[in-house]
Every structure is written in structure tokens, then in C-alpha cells.
């Protein structure tokens, strides 16, 4: 009975398609439809958009300059003047939190872009050419992957000095290996496909095949990797800033806010809790959205 029903379903599809009752839709359109059904992921997308807007309009939204020291309100608890209180220099915690969004998001996104550029380039080259090139690139990846993540980032930061740009580079160098490995695997699979052979037969160069055929076909993997990589980068930034190796004062970042707040945890709990919640919300939002995106882009993976 079951087998029969499948056959009838197939027949129905064909009929519908012929009669124009069913529309053709692209891969990404399909994915978007699937994503729309995932309410949790959509909600998280909303949260992410909200954070992005907050970061973009930080100067408009925040009530104070994040470095302005209001000496009358040193370590003041939340009040109508300072909604989330003021820190040990009398700086408005809410304003610093809002400006911290800029640092966290830009670090997350830029570090992932850097990681993706390195990862895709090296991964695709290794996967497509194979042989000695593959061996060389794979060994480099293994060397990079052999260090404990945080220690490696700390070493890079100590070596290059502190600062925002160096933090991008350190986190980019830390995470490109994962991208490269996945891309290498996909490319090795894809290069056996007929359309690659066809392109080769009609005289396509390796560069053209990689850029026109292989990478676009890996794009869904990359999108998922980037969204899932952003929260990691945010966490690393927070950890490094907490350890005093990341963002330098007075630029506010969630990590260095928690770091300076830890001394006052019993006196002004809100000071350390609020940036902690901010990190948590951002990381959870990106993770759930990233998971949803993966489910949507790759129906085969659906559990």
C-alpha cells in the first residue's frame, strides 16, 4: 500500500507541473520558505537585525558619550539619570553597552569575512588540485589547528600588539582552518561532477572552474559557517578583552566591561550582569539562527 501511494504522489506531481499548477522555484527561494517556517530562527534573525541597527545608530540611541565621566555618579545604581547605573569612572553603563555592540558585531563579522576569504581560497585550491598542493596546504592547516585556540589568539595578540585591527587578524587566523577543511572536502566531491567535466572539455581554465562552478556550489556551506562562526568570534573577543589583550580602554567592549566589573560584582551587580546578558543573547541568537539556516539550506541534514 505504501509503495503504491508513493507512485500516485509522483504521478500527481507530474500532472500538477504539466498543468502549471506548481511553480518552479530556485534553491535559495526554497530554502527561504523553509526558514520562514522556523519561528525560533526568525525571531533570532529579528534580534540580530535589532543589534545591527543598535550598532549603526549607537550615537543616536545612547543617552551619553560612552567615555564621558560623570564624577557625581561614580558607581551609581540604576536611576532615571543612568538607566543601568554608572561605572567606576561615572560612565553611563547603558551607553557603553550600546557602543559595545559595535565592537562585538564588527569583530564577529569582519573576523569571519577574513577567515572565509583565507579559508575558501586555500580550501578550494587544495581540494581542486590535490596532490602536492593539497598535502602542503593540509599540513599548514594542521599546524594552525594544533594550537589551543585561546592560547594561539593570545600569542598573536601579544606578538602584534593590542588594537582592533590586530584582533580581527588574530581571530581570522584562528578560524580559517575550519572553513578551509569543509571547502576542500566539498570541492573534492564537486570536481567529479559532470558539469565540471563539461567545462573542462569546453576549455575552461582551473580559475574559471573554481570561481564559476565550485565556489558558488559551496556557498550554502559558507553561509552557515559564517553565521555559526560569528558567535565564536564574539566570545573570543570577550575572552581576550577580559584578559586585557583585546580592545583597549576607553573603547567599550562587552569583554572589557565584564573584566572591570568583576571587582564590583557584589557592590553593583548590574554592571557585570548586563554585558554578560548582552553576550549571551547575541551568541544564542546567532547560534539558533545559524542552525535554522543550515536546516533550511540543506534539507538532507534535517534530523
Amino acid at each position: 500500500m505504501k509503495i503504491l501511494s508513493i507512485f500516485t504522489k509522483q504521478k500527481k506531481f507530474e500532472e500538477q507541473l504539466l498543468n502549471g499548477e506548481m511553480e518552479y522555484s530556485s534553491y535559495y527561494k526554497d530554502s527561504f520558505k523553509r526558514l520562514k517556517k522556523n519561528k525560533a530562527a526568525l525571531f533570532c534573525l529579528g534580534v540580530i537585525l535589532f543589534l545591527v541597527l543598535l550598532a549603526l545608530f549607537a550615537p543616536v540611541v545612547s543617552p551619553y558619550d560612552p567615555t564621558y565621566q560623570d564624577y557625581a555618579s561614580v558607581l551609581a545604581p540604576p536611576s532615571s539619570k543612568h538607566l543601568l547605573g554608572a561605572d567606576e569612572y561615572g560612565r553611563d553603563i547603558l551607553s557603553r553597552l550600546i557602543y559595545g555592540t559595535r565592537v562585538s558585531l564588527s569583530i564577529g563579522i569582519l573576523a569571519q569575512i577574513l577567515a572565509s576569504v583565507i579559508g575558501i581560497t586555500l580550501g578550494a585550491i587544495a581540494g581542486y588540485f590535490g596532490g602536492a598542493v593539497d598535502t602542503l596546504i593540509s599540513r599548514i592547516m594542521e599546524i594552525f589547528a594544533a594550537f589551543p585556540d585561546l592560547l594561539f589568539a593570545m600569542a598573536i595578540m601579544t606578538f602584534m600588539g593590542q588594537g582592533l585591527q590586530n584582533l580581527f587578524i588574530a581571530l581570522g587566523l584562528l578560524t580559517w582552518v575550519r572553513t578551509a577543511r569543509l571547502i576542500r572536502g566539498s570541492v573534492m566531491q564537486l570536481k567529479e561532477k559532470e558539469y565540471v567535466e563539461a567545462s573542462k572539455a569546453s576549455g575552461g581554465t582551473s580559475f574559471r572552474i573554481i570561481t564559476k562552478h565550485l565556489i558558488p556550489n559551496c556557498l550554502s556551506t559558507v553561509i552557515v559557517l559564517v553565521t555559526l562562526g560569528i558567535p565564536n568570534a564574539i566570545m573570543y573577543e570577550a575572552s581576550l578583552s577580559f584578559l586585557g589583550l583585546g580592545i583597549q580602554p576607553p573603547t567599550p567592549s562587552w569583554g572589557n566591561m565584564i573584566s572591570s566589573a568583576q571587582s564590583f560584582i557584589s557592590f553593583l551587580p548590574v554592571y557585570s550582569i548586563v554585558p554578560g546578558i548582552a553576550i549571551m543573547v547575541t551568541v544564542v541568537a546567532f547560534n539558533i539562527f545559524g542552525d535554522g539556516l543550515r536546516d533550511a539550506l540543506d534539507p538532507k541534514l534535517r534530523a
Binding site: 567615555t67 569612572y89 580602554p249 564590583f264 560584582i265
Partner: protein, 542 residues
């Protein structure tokens, strides 16, 4: 979705773990003798069970030898003050009293030769008897080790020993085992006070020479009330009562210094009852003041000295710029708000309580507009970039720098804060790599000569300052050759004026009170303006 749930669970676990960790800090109050000890301090756990009186002090690992003749960190002094003694001691109020001497030193009529008599039969911890030759050896070692050698530059023969052309300090003459004289090359009134500093501590010549580089690490012998048992890097230092002490044998059986790097953790350990004495950062004052339990256990004292900003006159060469920087420090705000009134804005480098302090001086005003005008005169109408280096081991310098960074904006000064650790800080100062820094200095004896030591002519090339001023140098020399107080006052007021209001070689910031928490069961332990850590009279009240 499975993965998401997993992530949420692990997040929940992390949060609850953090909560559990922070809960550790708020358990029972201090209980000195029966408390649990950390695994690291296992060796003295047994002693505590038998009722031994061990004072537990929170400390920071200096990572160098416990030898004040080589390293001048106050972290080291915390231990050595109880193990090694100098010939004399400066008390609260500035009075210098003999320690190892039978009586006060006698000064010859030409004011150049001092005669000393040692107490008979003072024993070192290794059983040797203190002799005049040990004193000569120890003082020569101060010069050879260089760090604080210039303290003795007025002793005859200093130059020859310092440059290596001689191997003894000819000014020190041993008469017999308990008598010796020290001759100076020129009149130097604070000399007796110099001998009271911890840098002039007396070591047994043979043992010290035999120990070589291990001196202050595996072995440290003095005449003090406690003997040095062990130094375990990263763990702590143990010292115990010296029964053969010539004075009053201490009531404590020993002192256990426990290395805890983080200031916050030190206080948490105190709250748990694992520590009896802990120094407290002054910007944390309101936090502990708000805690009803800690409030009454917090004590304050005022060391003579304070925090100031140093300038490298090679890179910040125009005095106008230095004046502008000094004018853009809002000292009032730093003291009142960031340090919650525990500090007072300085009006001079020489603090109140010693000769040379001028009560009539006006406070340094915060005047960003005036600073801007000065910078424009100096050719920096469009703003000035300043790199300010701070040593993270002195945690207080960071809030000072952070506050100044914002305050200086109004004057068009862009401050970049460079945070370095103690080792890098020492290197940078030696190599002249600090453009501007936050420093602190406290007198070793109540004399302006001790206060002005960091800006003295022979010292500035080694502290990345490079400031030299002929008139100032002459005044410093005149100051130590004059014994009349009124005259000295006049000389040092002039010197102060050149230093902080004319050449702006440094910018005094504030004079602070220091805080510490002390287990209320302990008596006889008081920190005072001398900033020395003597635990010989401390006792546990049962």
C-alpha cells in the same frame, strides 16, 4: 534543533558553575587558627592544628630575590622587614632610633665622621655573631649591587668602588668587632636616616658571599625577629620566630605569606578566613565600606609620598607642553570620585610632614582651556598625542590613567594608554622607552632628600626621565649640607618650585591613604606612615 538544545544546556551549566564559583567567596567569617588551608599551604596545616600562632598575610610573588639591596619593590619589603634589620629604624613621626646599635652614632666636629657601637652579642639566624665587618660588607654590597647604591654616594671611596677601581669602601673603618666609623667626603645631614632604610640591611658576610645568586631565594639571613624558612615561587614564603633574637622574642610562631595574584581574590580569601592581613586597593573603598562585616576590619594609614606623572624630557621636550599636561589633570575629580575621598590632590611633590613642603602653595588647577592655549603656543594648536605607560603591577595607576585620558580630551591631548607588566616596565624605563608614565614614590626616611631621590640628577637617566637642571642639582646638594631647618626649608621650597612649577619635570597627582583589612583577633599590628611591615609585636587574641 538537537544541537541548539545541547548548546543551551551547556550554557546553563556554565552559568550555574559561575554562580557556584562566586558563592565560594561569601562563606563564614574569619577564624584564624582552625580554618581550612589551601592545598598549597599543606606544610603549615599541621602546625595550625597544634595551636601554633601563624599570621597569614596575602602577598604577591615578586618573582625576584628577597633582597632589598637589589630590588626595591615594596612586595619584597613585606617579608624582609621581619627578617633583616638595618643599624637604625625610622619610626612613625620621623624619629630615627638605634636598632643594632648600642647608642646613637656620634658625629665628629667637622660633621664628616660618624662613630658607631654595635650591641654586643647580636646573633644572626645561623648562629654567627654580628661584627663590624658584616656591616662593612653589607654596605659595600649596596654599592656593588648598584640598584640603590647612590644612597651611599657621599661615603668616602664611593666613586672608586662604584666604578670598580677599588673593592672596598674606604670610608668605612672597622676598629674592633663592635666599633666602626664611617667617614663622608662632604657634609650630608640625612646620613643616619639613610642607614635606617631597608636597603642598608645588615647581612652576615660569609653566608651571604657563599650563597651567591641564591641569596634571597633559598637563603636569607639577618638579625631580625623572624627567620626565613622557605620561598616557594608561586606559592608563598614562610618565616618563623627566631628564639635567639636579642630583643623581645615575637609572640607569633611564624608568618605565612600566601601568594595570591589577583587583588579581588585576596579579599575573597580574607572573607573566607584563610588570610589575616590583606592590602586593599583604594578605588575599591566603597565596596568594602558597604560590607557591614568588613567595614570595621578596614584600617587606613598615610604613607609619606604619592602618585605623580613622569615625563621623558627628550620626547616631551617643551616645558610648556608638560605644564599643559599638568593643567589637564583634574586632580580634584580623581581624588574625590574615583578614589572616593581617600586621596588628597597634591600641591607639591614634597608632601606635607617633611621639610620643604610649602603649605601656602595653591593646588594645581584643572584648566583645560589654559592648557590648550599653552599647547598652541608650543605649536600644537591642533592637538597633542601622548603615550602614557602604566605598570599593571601597581593596579592604582590604571584608574589614574583612564581618568586622565578623558580629562585631557578637553585640552586637545589625545592620550594612548600603554599597559605593561612589571618586567617590561623596568626594561622600558632603563632603555628610555617611557614618554610619560604614572609613578609612585614614598620616602624611606622623613627627609626631602629621600622624597626627591627619584628626580635626583644621578637617577633620572635610569628612569626614562633624562631631566637635568643645574640649579636644582645645586639646591639638592646644598640641602644635604645644611643642618639648619629653616634654611633647608627655603632651599627645598626653591627646588620644589623648579621641579613641579617651572620645569614641570613631573606632575604631582595625589597623596593617598592606603587601606588594609586585618583580622580583629590580631593585636599589635599597625601600619603607619613609615610604610614598614613589622610583625614582631603582633599577637593573636584568644
Amino acid at each position: 534543533m538537537k544541537k541548539t538544545i545541547k548548546k543551551l544546556i551547556s550554557l546553563g551549566l556554565a552559568v550555574s558553575m559561575a554562580a557556584a564559583l562566586s558563592a565560594c567567596g561569601s562563606s563564614s567569617g574569619p577564624s584564624p587558627t582552625t580554618s581550612e588551608t589551601t592545598a598549597a599551604a599543606g606544610s603549615d596545616a599541621a602546625a595550625e592544628n597544634t595551636g601554633a600562632k601563624i599570621l597569614r598575610v596575602a602577598a604577591v610573588d615578586p618573582q625576584v630575590a628577597y633582597d632589598m639591596q637589589q630590588y626595591t619593590y615594596s612586595l619584597i619589603m613585606k617579608v624582609t622587614d621581619n627578617v633583616v634589620e638595618s643599624l637604625l629604624t625610622t619610626q612613625d613621626g620621623g624619629k630615627v632610633v638605634p636598632t643594632l646599635l648600642a647608642k646613637e652614632p656620634e658625629l665628629s666636629d667637622d660633621m664628616l665622621t660618624y662613630s658607631f657601637e654595635l650591641i654586643d652579642g647580636v646573633k644572626f639566624h645561623n648562629g654567627e655573631t654580628l661584627k663590624s665587618s658584616d656591616v662593612k660588607y653589607s654596605l659595600e654590597r649596596v654599592v656593588k649591587k648598584q640598584s640603590m647604591g647612590s644612597l651611599l654616594e657621599k661615603v668616602e671611596g664611593y666613586e672608586a668602588l662604584a666604578d670598580g677601581s677599588a673593592n672596598e669602601l674606604t670610608g668605612i673603618k672597622v676598629i674592633d668587632d663592635t666599633h666602626f666609623t664611617i667617614t663622608l667626603s662632604e657634609v650630608y645631614t640625612p646620613f643616619v636616616s639613610v642607614l635606617s632604610t631597608p636597603y642598608c640591611g645588615i647581612y652576615p658576610a660569609e653566608a651571604c658571599e657563599a650563597a651567591g645568586d641564591n641569596w634571597g631565594k633559598t637563603e636569607l639571613i639577618g638579625t631580625g625577629p623572624f627567620k626565613f624558612d622557605s620561598y616557594t615561587p608561586g606559592v608563598g614564603v614562610e618565616i618563623s620566630k627566631f628564639d635567639g633574637y636579642y630583643g623581645n622574642v615575637p609572640k607569633l610562631d611564624g608568618v605565612s605569606y600566601k601568594f595570591i595574584e589577583d587583588a579581588n581574590t585576596q579579599v575573597l580569601e580574607y572573607q573566607k578566613g584563610n588570610i589575616d592581613y590583606v592590602d586593599v586597593e583604594t578605588n575599591m573603598y566603597p565596596v568594602y565600606q558597604a560590607d557591614p562585616k568588613l567595614k570595621d576590619q578596614m584600617h587606613m594609614f598615610q604613607p609619606i609620598g604619592g602618585y605623580y606623572m613622569t615625563f621623558n624630557v627628550k620626547s616631551v621636550s617643551d616645558p610648556k607642553i608638560r605644564q599643559a599636561i599638568s593643567m589637564s589633570i583634574n586632580r580634584q575629580a580623581i581624588c574625590e570620585s574615583i578614589f572616593h575621598g581617600t586621596a588628597k590632590p597634591s600641591s607639591s611633590f614634597i608632601p606635607a610632614g617633611i621639610i620643604g613642603h610649602d603649605d601656602s602653595l595653591e593646588e594645581f588647577a584643572y584648566d583645560p582651556e589654559g592648557a590648550k592655549a599653552l599647547l598652541a603656543e608650543a605649536g600644537y594648536a591642533n592637538g597633542y598625542d601622548l603615550r602614557l605607560t602604566v605598570n599593571t603591577k601597581y593596579a592604582t595607576s590604571i584608574p589614574i590613567a583612564t581618568a586622565f585620558q578623558e580629562q585631557a580630551k578637553a585640552a586637545g591631548i589625545n592620550v594612548t594608554i600603554e599597559q605593561v607588566d612589571s618586567a617590561a616596565w623596568s626594561d622600558m624605563r632603563k632603555s628610555g622607552g617611557v614618554d610619560a608614565g604614572v609613578g609612585n614614590w614614598y620616602v624611606d626616611y622623613n627627609d626631602p632628600d629621600s622624597m626627591l631621590y627619584p628626580v635626583s640628577d644621578s637617577r633620572t637617566d635610569r628612569s626614562s626621565s633624562f631631566w637635568h637642571n643645574e640649579e636644582f642639582k645645586k639646591l639638592m646638594e646644598a640641602g644635604v649640607q645644611t643642618s639648619d631647618e629653616a634654611e633647608r626649608q627655603e632651599i627645598y621650597v626653591k627646588a620644589e618650585h623648579i621641579l613641579s612649577r617651572e620645569d614641570y619635570a613631573i606632575a604631582p597627582i595625589y597623596n593617598e591613604s592606603k587601606c588594609y583589612l586585618l583580622n580583629p583577633k590580631i593585636t599589635g599590628l599597625v601600619m603607619d606612615s613609615t610604610f614598614r611591615n613589622f610583625y614582631a609585636n603582633a599577637d593573636f587574641q584568644q
